[in-house]
Symmetry: C2
Subunit: 202 residues, 2 copies
DNA sequence: TGCCCAATTGACCGGTCGGCCAATCGAGGC
DNA sequence: GCCTCGATTGGCCGACCGGTCAATTGGGCA
C-alpha cells in the first residue's frame, strides 16, 4: 500500500525525466551541441545524477536512441500487423499512414537524420523484419498481378519510406520553392505517380 | 613578374587551405563537433589565422556553406542549360545525372543534411531558379502531352531530387535491408516507377 | 631604401565542458 | 531502531574550448 506517495525519491521517474529532457535536446540540437549542464537544468536534476543513472553523455545518447527507436518499431509493427489482405488499396493506405505518422512525429524524423549523419547503422538493422514483411507483401501482390513484376519489392518499400522521410527532413529546404504545395498536396501527387508507377504495365 | 614564387606569404592560398580543411571537417562532423584547434592543425595554420581571415567559427561555417553551395548551383545550372529540347528522354537523363552527381559528391549530400537539421533555409532559397526552370520544363512537357497533366510540376522535380538525396543520405540506414540492391539497381527501379508514374495515363 | 600594412605567430584569457568524489539522505529489510 | 545500499547532492577538477592581443614578419610601393 503505497498510494498517493509523495516520494522524495523515485529513481524510475528520475530516469524517465532525464530521458525525456535528453531526447528533446538531442533531437533539437544533435549530440555534440547538447551541454550536460543545460540538460540537467531542464530535467531538474543535478549533473551528477545523469552520470549516476547513465554513465556518460554517450551512453545517455544511446539510451535515448534505443528508447525512441523501440517505440517507433513497435508502433510500426503493430500498424503493419493490423493491415489486412493484400489488395490495391493497402499500399496506398500504408503510404498515407507512414506519411502522416512522420508528420505527427517530427522528432523521429530528426532522430533518424542525426543517426544517419553519425553513420549509425544500428537503427537500420532493427527494422529488417519490418522492411522484410513489407517487401514480402509487395511480392505477394506482384504474384497476384496487383503490382508490376519487374521491380525489386524492397525498392518499392524503400522508395516510399525515403520520400516521406525526406519530405519532412528537408522541409526547410524546399518549402519555399516556387509552386510547392502543402503536405497533403504533395502526398496526393506522390501517390498519383507512385501508384501509377507500380501498377502492372501494359 | 613574380613567377615560380616561393612566397612565404599567400593570404589567398591560406584562405583556401582553411576553407578546404574546414569543409572537410564540417561535412564529416557537423558544426558543433568541430574544434578550431584540430581544424587549425589539419589546415597547417595557427588558430589565430582562422580568426584573422574569417572572424569566428560561425562565420567560417557560413563561408564554407556559401562556397560549397555556389559550386553546387553553378554546376547544376550549367548542366541544366546544357540540356536540349524537352523530350521523353530528358527527364530520365536528368534524374540519372542528378543521382550520379550525388553519388560522386557525397560531401554535398552531408552538407545539405547538416543545414536541414539546422533549419537553415538559405541554401533552399538559392535554388529557386533551378527548381523553377525544371518545373517550367515539366510544364512544357505536360502541354506537349509528354507527361500527365494532373500533377504539380514542382512536385515532379521535388520527388526525384528528394529520392536521390535520401538514397545517399540514409545509405547507412537501408543498405543492410534484406533484398536491397546496389546504387544502379535502385536507380533503375526508381526510374521504372517514376517514368511510368509521370507518363500520360490512359 | 625605408615605410606601411596585412599576414602571421605564440602566449594567454575567462568560461565551461564532461566527469569524479566524498558526503548526505531516505526508504526498505532485519 | 538500526543498518545498509542506492539515490542524490554540491563541490571540485583538469582539459580544452573559442577568442583576444601584442609583437613580429615580409611583401609591395613610393
Amino acid at each position: 500500500m503505497m498510494s498517493q506517495k509523495t516520494q522524495t525519491r523515485d529513481p524510475e521517474l528520475t530516469r524517465t525525466r532525464i530521458l525525456d529532457a535528453a531526447e528533446s535536446q538531442f533531437v533539437e540540437q544533435g549530440f555534440s551541441a547538447v551541454k550536460l549542464s543545460a540538460l540537467a537544468r531542464s530535467a531538474d536534476v543535478t549533473k551528477s545524477l545523469i552520470h549516476h543513472h547513465f554513465g556518460s553523455k554517450e551512453q545517455l545518447w544511446e539510451a535515448v536512441k534505443n528508447r525512441a527507436f523501440e517505440r517507433y518499431y513497435t508502433g510500426q509493427m503493430a500498424m503493419l500487423e493490423g493491415a489486412g489482405e493484400p489488395d490495391a488499396m493497402l499500399l496506398r493506405n500504408s503510404v498515407e499512414a507512414y506519411f502522416h505518422f512522420l508528420r505527427d512525429n517530427p522528432g523521429v524524423v530528426r532522430l533518424f537524420a542525426w543517426t544517419h549523419l553519425e553513420g549509425d547503422s544500428h537503427c537500420g538493422e532493427l527494422d529488417n523484419q519490418l522492411v522484410g514483411a513489407g517487401a514480402e507483401w509487395v511480392r505477394q501482390a506482384q504474384m497476384r498481378g496487383l503490382l508490376r513484376k519487374d521491380i525489386n519489392p524492397t525498392h518499392v518499400i524503400a522508395l516510399f519510406v525515403m520520400t516521406c522521410t525526406q519530405w519532412f527532413e528537408a522541409k526547410c529546404h524546399h518549402q519555399h520553392w516556387p509552386g510547392m504545395g502543402s503536405d497533403e498536396a504533395f502526398l496526393e501527387d506522390f501517390l498519383k505517380i507512385f501508384m501509377a508507377g507500380v501498377a502492372p504495365q501494359n
